[in-house]
């Protein structure tokens, strides 16, 4: 496992989206996970596929098994929707309006541009996600959302009082991990609070893509301390599995 990993540098991560008035972080995280896996597995950047791939959420939201995807949902439900619909249509065919309203599921009407074989929940996340993240791509974990309301930048290492690791109520996309330099700072703050004594040692962190637009956080991303289950990031880490089609001829049982 390398000490750092950033799938954005490989062009595997689709742009930061804005869920607007729709509680669909779960669908955006799932779509981002699938897009990244396709980009990684098939060796093309998401940008290069923008016209054909750029999956998103609308199909997942409308075709959610509860039919009410803007009222919240779960990443595993998104993956089940993809499996049940035998794939996902492109965002071009199935646009996202952010209005918060769901529509009739139109999945059958559109050509499928991506699909998955399976999805899995990672065990021992903080140990395995690095390995998974490096080899297989991104992961879509849950996180508690409250400190994020006021987050501007830097690595969050919250305590259970400020960020309950049990009440995870937001889905995001893990795109990489790394370590801060020993003096990453809190200097030059304009609209945040004072310059507290900061850790002099380097800090390991996860890099996560949020779905609140690029004006939030670090251009739409945030970082959580790695190794302390900050904000419950280890609770429900899920990833789709995308593999190249097996070209071997299938063997069936002889009569």
């Amino acid at each position: 496992v390398p000490s750092t990993c950033d799938w954005r540098k490989a062009g595997a991560i689709s742009p930061v989206r804005n869920q607007q008035h729709c509680n669909c972080c779960w669908a955006i995280a799932a779509a981002g996970n699938i897009e990244a896996l396709w980009a990684i597995k098939f060796g093309r950047s998401v940008e290069a596929w923008a016209h054909t791939l750029s999956l998103l959420a609308p199909e997942l939201i409308d075709c959610d098994r509860c039919g009410n995807g803007c009222k919240g949902g779960f990443v595993w439900d998104a993956f089940l929707t993809v499996l049940n619909n035998s794939g996902l249509a492109s965002e071009k065919d199935y646009p996202f309006d952010g209005s918060g309203k769901t529509h009739r599921c139109l999945a059958e009407k559109h050509k499928k541009v991506a699909w998955i074989q399976d999805f899995i929940t990672l065990q021992a996340f903080e140990q395995s996600a690095g390995r998974m993240g490096t080899r297989a791509g991104t992961v879509a974990p849950d996180s508690a959302s409250l400190p994020l309301q006021h987050y501007q930048k830097g690595v969050i290492q919250a305590t259970p009082t400020t960020c309950d690791p049990v009440q995870v109520n937001h889905c995001v996309l893990l795109v990489g991990f790394g370590k801060t330099k020993s003096v990453e700072g809190r200097q030059g703050k304009a609209a945040s609070f004072g310059s507290y004594s900061r850790p002099r040692h380097s800090m390991a962190y996860w890099t996560l893509q949020n779905s609140w637009g690029t004006h939030w956080g670090e251009k739409g991303y945030f970082r959580l301390h790695r190794g302390s289950n900050t904000c419950g990031i280890t609770r429900f880490p899920v990833t789709a599995r995308v593999d190249k089609p097996n070209k071997r001829q299938q063997v069936s049982c002889p009569p």
Binding site: N23, P147, Q149, H150, Q157, H170, F193
Partner: protein
């Protein structure tokens, strides 16, 4: 330099100015003076919350004014949160069935 004992935090006039800048930056307007006053109160409360987060954070994160600073925690969770996974899955409940008489 901690804020404690050095910087008393935004004063009323300063707060109104910070709020005005927030409104400009995020293009916020409110339908009437009462709502404006209510949002200003929420904004002040959120600055206090951000300061608490800042004090208790063990990392390098910075907290302060964001596009969500005029929302209460409840509004924020309702608008931008998700269902709580553990509750929906029932994982917080005891595993096993009473009907079977053993876990």
């Amino acid at each position: 330099g901690s804020l404690r004992g050095q910087d008393p935090g935004p004063q009323p006039l300063e707060l109104k100015e910070v709020f005005r800048l927030f409104q400009m930056q995020y293009n916020r307007s409110y339908p009437n003076p009462a709502e404006h006053a209510r949002r200003l109160d929420i904004f002040a409360q959120n600055l206090a919350n951000a300061q608490r987060l800042q004090e208790e954070d063990l990392g390098t994160a910075e907290f302060g004014v964001t596009q969500f600073s005029d929302l209460t925690e409840e509004e924020f969770v309702q608008l931008y949160g998700n269902r709580v996974a553990g509750e929906a899955l029932g994982v917080s409940r005891k595993v096993g069935s009473e009907e079977w008489g053993h876990s």
